[in-house]
């Protein structure tokens, strides 16, 4: 459908006003809200994610595209709630205790939203108890942690240790990322996944949630 394609294209260009107007128009023309969501907004965001991964677009382009997606989602959400649309999964995300860097974490949150997740963004300097209690409160599937500093990355392990202490470790998929993080560190602290960039994180999260559900 042409209007769905247009929504996706304007989203990729970061044109929030156009996306909002087109989503409103599509709804008024009776287009299915789920189709607008999946084939317009999320599909556009997935294309941006793929281009970001391939260094075809960069952080500013992802930010403006995500903002356009959120503008469209705001219009769409009442309709989605009405028809009982369920998200792909639920995630809590934050930068770990002692670390105030959030641009990478924000990109991941945007990409997760763009992949159809409901995201609870806990911000920066988040301690283990906040990660876990919010995950419990929001019935999250994923706990996503970010760190930029080598001095704060060990705090990711505190969250995993606390999950173990509370007997909740198996309940959550734990994903970590950030400049100093790598796969061997993820294994060392007992995280489920390390991903090198925001787009890969969203893809991996989707697969992991589907695998866990099956």
């Amino acid at each position: 459908m042409a209007i769905i394609q247009e929504i996706s294209e304007y989203l990729q260009k970061g044109r929030a006003k156009n996306v909002k107007a087109l989503v409103e128009q599509a709804l008024s023309e009776g287009v299915d809200a789920k189709e607008i969501l999946n084939d317009g907004l999320l599909s556009g965001m997935m294309i941006i994610g793929e281009k970001f991964k391939n260094n075809e677009v960069f952080v500013p382009e992802v930010l403006v595209a995500a903002r356009a997606m959120n503008t469209g989602l705001t219009v769409l959400e009442p309709k989605l709630a009405e028809i009982g649309n369920e998200p792909v999964g639920r995630a809590v995300i934050g930068t770990v205790k002692g670390d105030l860097h959030d641009i990478g974490k924000n990109l991941v949150a945007m990409m997760l939203k763009g992949a159809g997740f409901e995201v609870c963004d806990l911000g920066v300097d988040v301690d283990a108890d906040t990660f876990i209690s919010k995950a419990e409160e929001t019935s999250a599937d994923l706990i996503c942690m970010s760190a930029l500093l080598t001095t704060t990355m060990p705090n990711m392990k505190d969250v995993i240790d606390e999950l173990n202490n509370r007997g909740l470790r198996d309940k959550y998929i734990v994903m970590i990322g950030g400049a100093p993080i790598n796969d061997s560190f993820a294994k060392q602290i007992g995280a489920d996944y390390y991903t090198p960039d925001a787009a890969t994180c969203a893809e991996t999260a989707k697969k992991a949630v589907m695998e866990k559900a099956s």
């Binding site: 960069f58 382009e61 403006v64 080598t150 090198p196 960039d197």
Partner: protein, 332 residues
């Protein structure tokens, strides 16, 4: 050779008696505090940490375009303004004469020692990615390429004019061996912005400032962390001649850069994360970068500030090896 002659020789691709043993980054306060606990005297006077460890002094003048009484951001990464109106309100605190005067006074005070060759000097100017980011804040700056393109151009033109004014006053007094544009425009996955945004919002301003620096024989480098390798062709186009700090953790490889760019100046490149592992690991890291050290136009140095988990004794070993490999690099 004097310290100054040694740095100059390396930057020009000439053979020195040994490589300079310098640290480009100032030391992290947490690291310094730990070293004091471990027995290092509290730093006092000129080049105190260099004197304690036996490093060659390398002095920096940083000309900041914000006045001392400029409002501070509410927290790390926060902005000072949002739009054109905010910029106009902030302007009385920007581009201060006092910073230029302070740079002039420092240059005069250091002139004699510099001319004698006691130390090399470098100058830092805040760049066309860095400075607008400090005004908008980290995230809003990234939006500004799309939301406030005209304002971004205005800020960078104002900054250019300020830089030119600074250079007009400072360069007749002293000519640093090199300068850096502080940018931090790359991260572990490469550039933070597209080539199109770089071409539009940064390149025209570099092209106004760089020729003035080169006229005075100053080597022009850029300071950007993370994986800088994909950006080198962009920088060359602007007339930039080298880069620091070349972070290994982001995958940067000084030997690969040398293979691809034979005349590119490099400072840094030594993986800071091996330093706490002891002498064998540090030696292995020096062996890794030795080919680049031998190739010239490379000043090996820690690839950013030395982390606090490196003890005073370990840092002494690092300096010992830096000097040992600095000699090895110039042996036939």
């Amino acid at each position: 050779m004097t310290n100054r002659e040694r740095v100059k020789a390396v930057l020009n691709g000439e053979k020195p008696d040994r490589l300079p043993a310098v640290e480009w980054a100032s030391w992290w306060d947490q690291t310094v505090n730990k070293w004091i606990e471990q027995g290092m005297p509290r730093p006092e006077g000129d080049d105190p940490i260099q004197r304690f460890y036996g490093l060659d002094p390398l002095r920096q003048i940083w000309i900041g375009p914000k006045a001392a009484d400029c409002p501070a951001p509410a927290h790390h990464g926060a902005g000072l303004m949002e739009d054109e109106e905010g910029y106009e309100a902030l302007k009385p605190y920007l581009y201060p004469e006092a910073s230029i005067e302070s740079a002039v006074q420092t240059a005069l005070a250091w002139k004699e020692g510099h001319e004698r060759g006691d130390y090399a000097q470098w100058l830092t100017l805040e760049g066309f990615f860095w400075f607008p980011r400090t005004l908008f804040g980290i995230e809003n700056h990234l939006y500004s390429f799309y939301d406030y393109p005209e304002l971004l151009h205005q800020i960078n033109q104002d900054l250019t004019e300020y830089h030119l004014k600074c250079l007009e006053r400072v360069l007749p007094i002293y000519q640093p061996e090199f300068m850096t544009f502080a940018e931090d425009m790359s991260y572990n996955l490469g550039p933070m912005l597209s080539k199109e945004c770089y071409d539009e919002f940064m390149l025209p301003y570099y092209k106004q400032v760089i020729p003035v620096l080169k006229e005075h024989g100053v080597k022009v480098l850029i300071d950007t962390d993370g994986n800088v390798e994909p950006l080198i062709p962009w920088f060359k186009e602007a007339g930039i001649e080298g880069v620091l700090p070349l972070e290994r953790q982001a995958g940067v490889d000084v030997n690969r850069i040398r293979q691809n760019y034979s005349e590119w100046i490099m400072v840094g490149g030594y993986n800071k994360l091996v330093m706490h592992l002891g002498e064998d690991a540090m030696r292995e890291e020096f062996e890794r970068i030795l080919p680049a050290m031998k190739s010239g136009r490379y000043v090996p140095s820690v690839d950013h500030q030395t982390p606090p988990d490196v003890t005073m004794e370990q840092y002494k070993i690092y300096v010992k090896l830096l000097k040992e490999y600095g000699k090895k690099a110039v042996e036939d």
